[in-house]
Amino acid sequence: MKKILFIGLCIVLIGCKNPSSTSEKLNVVTTTTMITDLVKNIGGDAIEINGLMGAGVDPHLFKASEGDVSKLYHADVIFYNGLHLEGKLVEVFEKMESQQKKTIALGEQLDKDGLIGSDYFASNYDPHVWFNIQYFKEFANTVTQVLSEEDPKNSELFVANNNLFQKKLTDLETEVKAIIETLPQEKRILVTAHDAFNYFGKEYGFNVVGLQGLSTATEAGVQDVQKLSDFIIENKVKAIFIESSVPRRTIEALQQAVLSKNHEVIIGGSLFSDALGDANTVEGTYIGMFLYNVTTIVNALK
């Protein structure tokens, strides 16, 4: 028994190294990969950025690891999406806010009138706001403002970076519009696994149908699949899409249902919805991800 105690003590003592604070930089923690990419664009090397969620993580189901605790503890500023996207984490951030820690829910700063309300929860909104580039620009402005307040000596850099980023986003908007123009209005029907693309559809005139969004339960029922397959045939939809953070099983079931009625439908590709692609790839940035999604959608539906 003494031995066990001794070993336990050793483990504790070995572990007791103080995490050295590496720099005097502002320590910023972000949640989703989209926000991480955004803050990187504004803050550059002037701040220390720690993203909690990796590529392909479903923000609703995020589980914290031991490392995340110290990331949160050492954070000077925390940026998160809010609007209940991060599940239980949102509660934690709200509690931290009351403890003089700067936590910013970027989604909550938006004008609520423009947001898409949820059918089931009166006071809740669809949290996938980043699929409207306009909202993402507002995110960037908020981030710039907060960073400048927290780190005034670098504020000029943040503003300059933001101007550059805003210009890039405007370019992205023009490019996306140009690509979507090539797709006739009647072909703009987007069928995906769950309803992450409502803001995208609203902005570019797509009729967005999410398989799981159709039913009130979280799992798609047999009836939903049948209804949606009829819808696909009726509207001569050419392609349906998988999402990176949702299992492909349900969409494949839908494809089989359509094929069994002698109608051709292909799986148009995998779209990024709740998370960006792997870091170091083009799809690992917000702009790259958006372009990839749009080209995938348009090419498949043409």
């Binding site: 028994m1 914290a64 031991e66 503890y73 050492h74 239980k88 984490l89 929860f121």
Partner: protein, 386 residues
């Protein structure tokens, strides 16, 4: 170490200790599953509490949840007393019913509130340091540390006050009733404490870890001792050890904290199961092998005792005569030699005085059907001890 690191370990240790104490009694009463049952059946209590207070952080929720826990136990008792089903079946009947009542209540009346099963059921140890208690602006530390600390102190107090009663009513219900303290009161007292502990710990560290902290340390300690006091101490020690080392495992792997703690608990049980001195797998296997050798030895000695003919006692013919494999006969002959029970001259084996005495005693016990006495005899003759 940073503050949240110390705090998470402290909370882990306090929860482990608070769970280990009722856990020991649950394991001894063969009711360990009740902690899992309570962790689910409290849902309707929480939901009704929320309907009354409209506040997820109200202490009334914890009280009502604990009350539902006690109701669970009462229902299990009632169903079990009918004699129609066994205890585990009764538990299996009660807690899903209560849990689903809670789910239906949420679905019917609280669908537009953030009161889904996840939000109510899953505390997360990793975030516990960020939920702090402030008294007039002063930071008093994490809230769950206070809640669990108070529960732990109450549990320890009750344990000291009622240790004798608990002990007797756990091991001998009849005697307990005869001595004048009703096993009924003890039973529900214990269940109420367990229920409150489960609910509090649930909020602090989440469901799986609570069940693990209740059962695993007690089950591990039970392998090592049958003494109640030692068992309590050992389970507290095992729980605390797993909490701390589990935390550092999570630190090294950068993994989920409660997941790592549960893993350590499992590994600890497995290790003790293998290596425990009496009940451990290895010592059981060793003992079985010893017993086989002892039986062989007695057979061998009886054979020698029965046969005065030299050809029956030739060392090289033992295999044929007693039907042993060569290796085994060598072990047995060596053991007998080592204990000075036989002597070998010209390859002929004969019993010594001590051997004769041993054989006669064994014979006597076998004839009179007092087999159990052979065990003591082995001790008297120093078998297996150089």
């Amino acid at each position: 170490m940073t503050n949240p690191q110390i705090e998470i370990q402290l909370i882990g240790v306090v929860v482990a200790m608070a769970c280990a104490i009722p856990g020991v009694f649950l394991v001894l009463r063969k009711m360990s599953l009740i902690s899992d049952a309570i962790s689910h059946s409290i849902l309707p209590g929480i939901v009704i509490g929320f309907f009354i207070t409209q506040d997820l952080n109200s202490p009334l929720l914890i009280l009502l949840a604990a009350l539902t826990g006690v109701i669970t136990v009462v229902l299990v008792e009632v169903i079990q007393k009918t004699g129609l089903v066994k205890e585990d079946t009764a538990i299996g009947l009660v807690f899903p019913s209560l849990f689903s009542i809670g789910v239906i209540l949420i679905a019917k009346n609280a669908n537009d509130v953030h009161l889904d099963v996840d939000a109510v059921l899953l505390g997360e140890l990793a975030f516990a340091p960020f939920d702090r208690l402030f008294i007039s602006g002063m930071d008093m530390g994490p809230k769950s540390l206070w809640v669990m600390g108070i529960i732990l102190i109450i549990t320890i107090l009750l344990l000291f006050l009622f240790f004798k009663e608990l002990k007797v009513s756990t091991f001998d219900k009849g005697l307990s009733a005869a001595l004048g303290f009703s096993p009924f009161v003890m039973h529900y007292g214990l269940m109420s404490v367990s229920s409150i502990t489960v609910v509090g710990a649930f909020d602090a560290v989440g469901a799986i870890l609570v069940v693990a902290f209740m059962i695993a340390p007690a089950a591990t300690a039970y392998l090592l001792t049958a003494n109640l006091k030692k068992m309590l101490l050992l389970s507290i020690l095992f729980g605390a050890f797993s909490a701390i080392s589990g935390y550092w495992l999570a630190h090294i792997l950068d993994a989920s904290i409660s997941g790592s703690m549960t893993t350590v608990l499992g590994l600890l049980f497995f290790g003790v199961y293998l290596f425990a001195p009496n009940k451990g797998l290895l010592s059981v296997l060793y003992r079985q092998k010893q017993q086989r050798t002892e039986v062989s030895l007695i057979t061998f000695l009886l054979h020698l005792n029965n046969h005065s003919e030299e050809n029956e006692r030739h060392i090289n013919h033992l295999n044929e005569h007693i039907n042993w494999q060569k290796v085994r006969s060598k072990t047995v002959v060596d053991l007998a030699l080592k204990n000075n029970m036989i002597s070998i001259s010209n390859n002929i084996v004969s019993l010594t005085e001590k051997g004769k005495e041993f054989t006669n005693l064994a014979l006597k016990y076998i004839m009179t059907n007092k087999d159990e006495k052979i065990e003591y005899m082995k001790d008297d003759f120093f078998l297996f001890r150089g």
